[in-house]
């Protein structure tokens, strides 16, 4: 039996299943609008671009970042620790399949990033099509090497070559940039795993799956989601004195969750940061409308979270009624969203919004009210 083919089939089924939910979800439309708006804004930015803009520095920086943050899929399951053990030595085909699968992922990621960055480079540098191809190839190679390095458990192998490729583009020889980017593959080939490192790959798969589930959970309830927790002792101690001491049990538990998990306060901060970048790039072009767009995106993800939190929790048997839990979650969600709305509204004024700031705020208020009303 070809284990890789079977696992790959299951993965495809999963992706197709969740894609349907994603396609039916309201968030997709918001994302479309965000992308279209982003494209307009970026186009505007490119049109007014100064020829001295340091685009080659941006590419060099992106090459340093491309190997980072990969979450390789290994398609390993928990039960493999028992049932795959006898076959470990014989399933080279599985390992090759997993490696190729991840190279494709890494390549897609690099191409998507370069689709945004290359116009910047072409606008400011005199490049031949071969040189553009070489830059694209370098990006794909660096991204793939970064992902494979994580898969093989080899550290710091891509950094030097990414730096070398970066220097080459800065010194005006883009054609040679793929050469250092190829070096890590030699090292990775030498130090590749001969047998599946079951526990390491299981951990990688869990992390990667958790990331996939996090994205899917924007659209559909995924109860078995693991969360990253940050202690945030400073914010928590501030809150402790002002709110949490007097809060009831439900507000207490949700308050701490909102502050510490990566899908509440972090989400607001992440999306607000992106909103600020979009505002900056827009150069004052309907900048006020960015506010409802990003407040809407936040609300869309923040509001359905309640269902997931409520599915399996200690609160189900504690003397905290569901109504109390709902009211408490609404209380926190309202404060987070309104804080974001006001902060982004103020930022839009700084970035040159006029009448559109008011329209943006009114729209954002309506969006927040709409999503909070759906919290039942």
């Amino acid at each position: 039996m070809n284990v890789f083919k079977q696992r790959f089939g299951v993965w495809v089924e999963d992706v197709v299943k969740y894609s349907r939910y994603v396609a039916n979800g309201g968030l997709l439309f918001t994302l479309y609008f965000t992308l279209i708006y982003g494209a307009f804004v970026y186009n505007q930015f490119l049109t007014d671009l100064d020829p001295d803009f340091p685009s080659e520095w941006i590419v060099a920086l992106i090459w340093l970042l491309l190997p980072l943050g990969h979450r390789p899929r290994t398609l390993i399951q928990e039960a493999d620790q028992v049932f795959l053990l006898p076959q470990l030595g014989e399933i080279r085909a599985f390992m090759t399949g997993v490696r190729l699968f991840n190279v494709v992922f890494a390549a897609v990621r690099a191409i998507l990033v370069m689709l945004v960055v290359l116009p910047l480079l072409v606008r400011t540098q005199a490049l031949t099509s071969v040189e553009v191809g070489a830059i694209l190839a370098t990006s794909v190679l660096i991204s793939a090497a970064g992902r494979l390095a994580k898969l093989e458990g080899v550290k710091y192998v891509v950094l030097a070559s990414a730096l070398a490729s970066g220097f080459l583009i800065l010194f005006g020889v883009p054609l040679l940039t793929p050469v250092p980017a190829l070096v890590p593959f030699v090292l990775l080939h030498v130090r590749r795993n001969q047998r599946i490192p079951l526990l390491d790959w299981l951990l990688l798969e869990e992390k990667s799956k958790a990331q996939f589930n996090r994205v899917v959970s924007w659209f559909v309830d995924v109860p078995a989601l693991r969360e990253d927790v940050r202690e945030r002792s400073f914010i928590v101690s501030l809150l402790e004195r002002s709110v949490l001491t007097r809060a009831d049990a439900a507000r207490y538990v949700y308050g701490l969750r909102v502050m510490r998990s990566n899908d509440s306060l972090d989400l607001v901060l992440r999306l607000s940061a992106v909103a600020l970048v979009v505002m900056w790039l827009s150069g004052g072009w309907y900048v006020g409308l960015v506010v409802p767009l990003f407040v809407g995106l936040t609300a869309l993800q923040l509001v359905p979270l309640f269902k997931r939190l409520d599915t399996v929790s200690m609160a189900s048997w504690l003397p905290i009624t569901r109504t109390e839990r709902l009211v408490a979650y609404k209380w926190w969600a309202t404060r987070l969203l309104f804080a974001q709305l006001l902060a982004l509204g103020a930022a839009s004024l700084l970035f040159g919004a006029t009448w559109d700031a008011l329209v943006g705020l009114v729209l954002a208020y309506a969006v927040v009210r709409y999503y909070l009303a759906r919290l039942k």
């Binding site: 049990a249 207490y252 538990v253 701490l256 998990s261 048997w317 003397p319 905290i320």
Partner: protein, 245 residues
């Protein structure tokens, strides 16, 4: 303290419990004994109000879930078989949450926390997040959260899973203290320990109560020798029930 009266229940489209009746009185530790799938966990879920009964009723300290959900739940604390903790709260914050939920005075909560944490050897772990707890520590954390409430009824589902021998001994000592003013219903498979510490037993089989009583009463019911263990009684009870059917 706990009165289960002609309870029929289970899950949507699948009745698991059939006409179950039993009591747990103040000062008693009652063992809920049954094979896998006998209905122990389902019974507990009905008592906790996590499942709606088809018919029959559950009363805890004269309160029912329908009369006041909040007051009813305040009468019960629960140690689940699989620990369920909030990843975003430290153990101390879990205990604060419990204090708020059960309206426990802050001074009382602190003194109970300190004492229980010392007894369960969890003082160092009070400010830790559950993600770094071992399996045993998670179970101990659940035990702390339940015992700190001093609620009239303590429900315990397989409490010894994952605990080391010292922790089991300490837990049983804490149960003995706890039941002085309260009642405990404990579901377990470890019959040897149950025999030594439970005052009475409720035997469940295929969703029905097949026997209740003290070990001595049950020996008499099934005509067993005075030195027959709870294991022997249990096996005999099951076989007698199978013969009857």
């Amino acid at each position: 303290m706990l009165h289960v009266d002609h309870l029929n229940g289970g899950y949507i489209g699948k009745q698991v419990l059939h006409d179950i009746s039993f009591d747990v009185k103040k000062g008693e530790l009652v063992g809920l004994i049954g094979l896998n799938g006998a209905g122990k966990s389902t019974t507990i879920k009905h008592i906790l109000g996590l499942l709606d009964p088809i018919s029959g009723s559950v009363e805890v300290d004269s309160q029912t879930l329908s009369s006041s959900e909040k007051n009813y739940r305040k009468k019960i604390s629960y140690i689940p078989e699989t620990p369920i903790l909030y990843d975003t709260l430290t153990l101390r914050e879990h205990l604060t949450l419990i204090g708020k939920a059960y309206d426990i005075d802050a001074v009382d909560l602190t003194s109970r926390t300190e004492r229980l944490a010392r007894d369960m050897r969890m003082e160092k772990q009070l400010d830790w997040f559950p993600s770094v707890f071992s399996k045993g520590m998670r179970q101990k954390a659940m035990i702390l959260c339940a015992l700190v409430t001093k609620s009239p009824l303590l429900i315990v589902d397989e409490p010894f899973v994952g605990l080391d021998p010292l922790a089991i001994r300490q837990l049983l000592r804490l149960f003995d203290e706890y039941k002085e003013d309260c009642a405990i219903l404990m579901s377990t498979h470890i019959l040897e320990t149950a025999e030594r510490h439970c005052d009475r037993f409720v035997f469940l089989h295929q969703g029905s109560v097949i026997a209740t009583g003290t070990a001595a009463q049950l020996r008499e019911t099934y005509g067993l020798r005075p030195d027959a263990t709870l294991d022997d009684i249990y096996v005999e009870a099951i076989e007698a029930e199978e013969r009857k059917r």
